[in-house]
């Protein structure tokens, strides 16, 4: 085999045993790698109804078919587990050095189960596995612990995935950090913390081979040139923070806990300002020819020295969404969220919910142990991050569980503005005037996720009328999800998505040139619905019901107050129709369940019996 090794490492932390699972080309080409393979491994290695924080939850890593090769922006990896935040599938992606090392150590994936009796570092040295006492590094931040352990090992080739204090304290949206990149959403860091696994360290010394080296190098050179062109212009110049002014101009920039959609300080926190006043460097992941990470550093003032590769999502969440209107505190807050090891998006939306509760008098200064979290108060935001990471006090403990659980506990109408779907906090695009995207978020298998939905493109680019719900949205949204899913399984970074003449023809060919495994464009295309339905099947197995595909009351009951999207709101009956149209496009029943025949058609025969239902009956007349 080329690129792939055909081996998956299984580790049981409870008794420190390991075993090797062998997989062949037939299996690999069905799921490809990344999120697809990781989800399959979770499905196969967790019992139905397991406690996400218990020993039976499987934390699964899966390589990219292109990892460790020159294929641009293919050196990434997928992680999945049953999410402690949503109770549904929790899949996430990361990239760079750690992704490369999984391949160079000779593994296509890892399945980690059990629970270590003490804090542990799992060290994988090519094919040798050892368990190291993590005591010297427990309590350290994510980057601090990676640097410290790497120094301890004395080898820059030891690459590490680490959790920070947030993961150690089982904050439900904790991240796993590797090389400054994050396995960000749904709490895979929490699962790692529940297993008392402080770090996974890998050193791989083996070469990665490809089936047709000359062809792969030619494709690489071609893609390197294309990725310096218009398809990636935004990422190479301003990076994702270009979205701040874009979204503000459209009146969809979430402001003050998604109450407003235009932020009066948008210019000051924009990608333009970041570039002009704070940018120090554009940095790339290993194997990336784009270099989207725009690092900004604060040179003076209260936050002097704060620095981070700033992306749009944490920027909005801890910025406009918290009413914070300058970049220095946002840079510092995102850096702190990263170092503590928590999802910047979820953290920002939890903080903004807390701020609104305080401003409305639902929660008091006493509830916050003396902090008065008002919108715009960066000190309060910083203090709340700390409280959450360490579960300090009743409020820290509550907020650490995410906005869904916190608002359920507090009540008093706070659930109406707890901005999540299925427990996953909303991303940076106000849905009231992005009405295809509203459905995309509601039906998302990992919760409200723009990255898995991609349907906001339809609304923003004007493919559809964003202010209305009309027939036909179901199929459009499904096609976007399927495409995103294929990228997540290969793995190819989404920022490459506009760099191919014909994506499925080109990428299927490149996949075969790299791995030697025959894959037609149609087979590649089928991975999208296959893995999406696999995620859905997992969710159904874990207790998903139709009412979970929904959005908070705010998007229905509070029309956008000002700006270009003024007056927009979602109508409940229209959203329901849109969701049911989507289910129909997917071939599911009206209740959102998957017919056996559909699972069989997608090559998921083995779960058809367990999950599949009868075909939906066609309505006569």
């Amino acid at each position: 085999m080329h690129s792939y090794s055909g081996k998956i490492l299984h580790v049981d932390l409870s008794d420190r045993t390991t075993r090797v699972q062998r997989v062949g080309p037939g299996f690999l080409k069905k799921y490809l790698g990344g999120v697809g393979l990781a989800t399959r491994l979770v499905y196969d290695n967790t019992p139905a109804g397991c406690d996400p924080l218990g020993p039976d939850n499987a934390l699964c890593f899966a390589c990219s078919a292109f990892g460790g090769t020159t294929m641009p922006v293919g050196t990434k990896h997928g992680v999945a587990s049953k999410s402690p935040l949503t109770g549904m599938i929790g899949d996430s992606l990361s990239g760079s050095h750690f992704s490369e090392m999984i391949k160079r150590a000779g593994w296509d994936g890892m399945v980690i189960k059990g629970q270590a009796p003490n804090w542990t570092v799992l060290f994988i040295d090519d094919d040798e596995v050892s368990f190291i006492d993590a005591a010297p590094w427990v309590g350290m931040g994510t980057s601090e612990s990676q640097e410290a352990f790497r120094e301890h090992m004395g080898d820059e080739n030891v690459r590490i995935s680490a959790i920070g204090p947030a993961g150690e304290h089982l904050l439900r949206f904790a991240t796993i950090d590797n090389d400054g990149r994050q396995v960000g959403r749904t709490g895979n860091g929490t699962v790692m913390g529940s297993k008392r696994l402080k770090m996974i360290a890998i050193r791989g010394t083996q070469p990665v081979t490809v089936a047709h080296p000359k062809a792969v190098m030619e494709e690489t050179l071609k893609l390197i040139k294309v990725t310096q062109g218009p398809g990636t212009l935004k990422y190479r110049t301003l990076g994702t923070p270009a979205n701040v002014l874009n979204m503000n101009k459209l009146g969809v920039l979430p402001t003050r806990n998604f109450s407003e959609t235009v932020f009066e300080h948008a210019e000051a926190i924009s990608g333009e300002t970041l570039r002009d006043k704070f940018k120090v460097k554009a940095v790339a992941c290993v194997g990336c020819s784009i270099a989207c990470e725009q690092w900004g550093e604060v040179q003076e003032g209260k936050y002097k020295g704060a620095r981070i590769g700033l992306d749009y999502e944490p920027l909005f969440a801890l910025g406009s969404n918290c009413g914070i209107g300058t970049l220095p505190p946002i840079i510092a807050l995102v850096q702190q969220a990263d170092e503590l090891g928590m999802d910047g998006m979820s953290a920002g939306v939890v903080v903004s919910w807390a701020m609104e509760c305080f401003e409305r008098g639902i929660l008091s200064k006493e509830d916050f142990d003396g902090i008065e979290p008002r919108f715009g108060d960066d000190d309060a935001a910083m203090a709340l991050l700390e409280m959450m990471a360490y579960r300090k006090g009743r409020m820290g403990d509550l907020l650490a569980d995410g906005v869904k659980r916190a608002s359920a506990e507090i009540g008093k109408g706070s659930e109406a503005f707890a901005m999540h779907s299925k427990g996953l906090e909303l991303p940076g695009y106000d849905v009231r005037s992005l009405q295809t995207f509203a459905m995309g978020l509601a039906v998302g298998t990992r919760g409200a996720c723009h990255n898995r939905a991609l349907s906001y493109e339809l609304d923003i680019k004007g493919v559809v009328d964003r202010f209305k719900i009309e027939p036909g949205r179901g199929k459009l949204a499904m096609d976007k999800e399927n495409f995103a899913c294929v990228l997540d399984c290969l793995v190819l970074c989404k920022f490459l998505r506009n760099c191919f003449d014909d994506f499925y023809i080109d990428v299927a060919r490149i996949y075969t040139e790299v791995t030697g495994i025959e894959l037609t464009p149609d087979e590649l295309r089928q991975v999208g619905p296959r893995v999406w339905n696999l995620k859905k099947a997992f969710n159904i197995r874990e207790g998903w019901t139709k009412e979970m595909d929904w959005l908070p009351d705010r998007v229905f009951d509070e029309p956008v107050p000002e700006g270009p999207s003024k007056g927009s709101a979602i109508k409940r009956e229209e959203l329901l129709m849109e969701i049911e149209e989507y289910y129909e496009a997917r071939g599911w029943t009206r209740e959102g369940l998957i017919p056996k025949s559909k699972l069989i058609e997608l090559g998921l025969e083995d779960i058809a019996d367990q999950i599949g239902v009868a075909d939906p009956v066609a309505v006569e007349g």
Binding site: V208, V283, A284, V286, I290, A291
Partner: protein, 164 residues
């Protein structure tokens, strides 16, 4: 040819993004597999955003040549690169200790060393330069490097004057 006439690979740290494509291109060219450990050019990445690539500097009075106890290393008069006689080299590693730039690579299985030879046997020249997405790598002599740096400094000065 004068000593200052030899070209070597240089990296502009402002343009380098730390992607390490150069390591992949080099190792594939030289070994037929993607094996950054065997790359003759290596990226040094000091987190979070300091990075540059480094390879053989073609030193005059090269310490590696002087250090070799078996006289396995010689300096080419054609292009100044260090040539390794693989019959004589037994992988002792003295040259690695002598090199001030970490530019000598040891293949632990074959027990011989490798040093960047500017892809003199490749059509298209240095592959690291060809594959760098940001054109951070180039071939330069010390003199051309000085000239380029002077030009860029002056261009920056005039641009700042124009903008102000």
């Amino acid at each position: 040819m004068a000593e200052t006439g030899y070209q070597h690979i240089i990296c502009d740290p402002d343009k380098c993004t730390g992607c390490r494509m150069c390591e992949y291109a080099c190792s594939m060219t030289k070994t037929g597999a993607f094996d950054p450990g065997m790359s003759r050019i290596r990226v040094v990445r000091i987190e979070p955003y300091t990075m540059t690539a480094i390879s053989c500097r073609l030193c005059a009075d090269a310490p590696c040549v002087l250090a070799c106890p078996r006289k396995a290393l010689t300096r080419s008069e054609v292009d100044g690169t260090i040539l390794v006689d693989t019959d004589k080299c037994d992988g002792c590693g003295w040259c690695i200790e002598a090199c001030d730039f970490g530019a000598v690579v040891l293949d632990p299985a074959a027990k011989v060393v490798s040093i960047c030879n500017l892809c003199s046997d490749e059509e298209g020249g240095p592959q690291c330069v060809a594959y760098c997405p940001k054109e951070a790598l180039s071939l330069a002599t010390p003199e051309t490097l000085r000239q380029q740096t002077r030009r860029e400094a002056v261009a920056r000065l005039f641009q700042e004057l124009l903008e102000s």
